[in-house]
Subunit: 162 residues, 2 copies
């Protein structure tokens, strides 16, 4: 049964979030390309490194879940990072089918550099104050935790970095 009235009144603002998210993500990827070229990385590499730094060693299947990406995409992503020595793949002893992935020291250092570059880009591009930026981060964080739980549920999972 559909409860349309509560739905409209209690929650959503008049306008949609999706067009803004779509727009900002597209612009971001385009702008970040230039800043990340010296590192031979793309935004999704940064996402993957961030997850590995914050969550530690993970199986590739868990990476796939945490990043909301297909497993086949993860393979290519990790290949890029491994060829630069930023991550390591290790056969898991308990289950030899599994490749455990972890960030290397070089990966951590690289991530820190990239982090500074992207932070600068965000500041220039979004023009938000520190407070606004923090508030936005927290809201996106909450939305992400919810989205990571599944499309129809609001399960705040530990699937994404804080």
């Amino acid at each position: 049964m559909n409860d349309r009235t509560t739905f409209n009144d209690s929650s959503a603002p008049d306008e949609l979030l999706s067009p803004l998210l779509d727009y900002l993500a597209r612009r971001l990827r385009a702008e970040a390309e230039a800043d990340l070229r010296p590192f031979s990385l793309k935004i999704r590499h940064v996402v993957a490194l961030t997850v590995l730094r914050d969550l530690g060693e993970r199986a590739q299947s868990q990476m796939s879940e945490a990043l909301g990406m297909d497993a086949t995409g993860i393979v290519a992503l990790l290949n890029d990072l491994e060829s630069q020595g930023l991550i390591e793949r290790r056969r898991a002893a308990q289950d030899r089918r599994r490749h455990n992935v972890l960030i290397t020291d070089a990966g951590c250092r690289r991530l820190a550099e990239v982090h500074r570059a992207i932070a600068g880009l965000e500041q220039r591009m979004f023009g938000l104050t520190g407070q606004e930026s923090t508030a936005l981060y927290q809201l996106l964080q909450k939305a992400t935790a919810s989205a990571a739980g599944g499309p129809a549920e609001s399960v705040a999972g530990e699937d994404f970095p804080h």
Copy 2:
């Protein structure tokens, strides 16, 4: 929350916004696909229709700028919408090179339906309260206005819907 107040107002938070935006936009596109399939539309069609509804008649070159997309992408986008009768292209009398684009009545009706579908998806997916959702909208709105002005400037332009 720890000593967050020690941050000066101009500094960014410790963590990056970009990975979250990238993640959410990717998930959103994937999830919205199912909801939008009955309409034969994608998220970017919704963005385009929203812009046309809010800003009125526009040249294609202006659409390109407003959407932050290459002009060639706009052509295919508008072809899709025109073939469904949701928008119209008219030769501009003053400058016959130009195609002015405007949303049709059918387009407005379709957009309203789609709007409801996406709003429901956002609520299920992001699990935000009405207040949070509104706050997030306003922050994304501000970031979008800034980003529309250019990568290095904070010019709040009239380029994107309010």
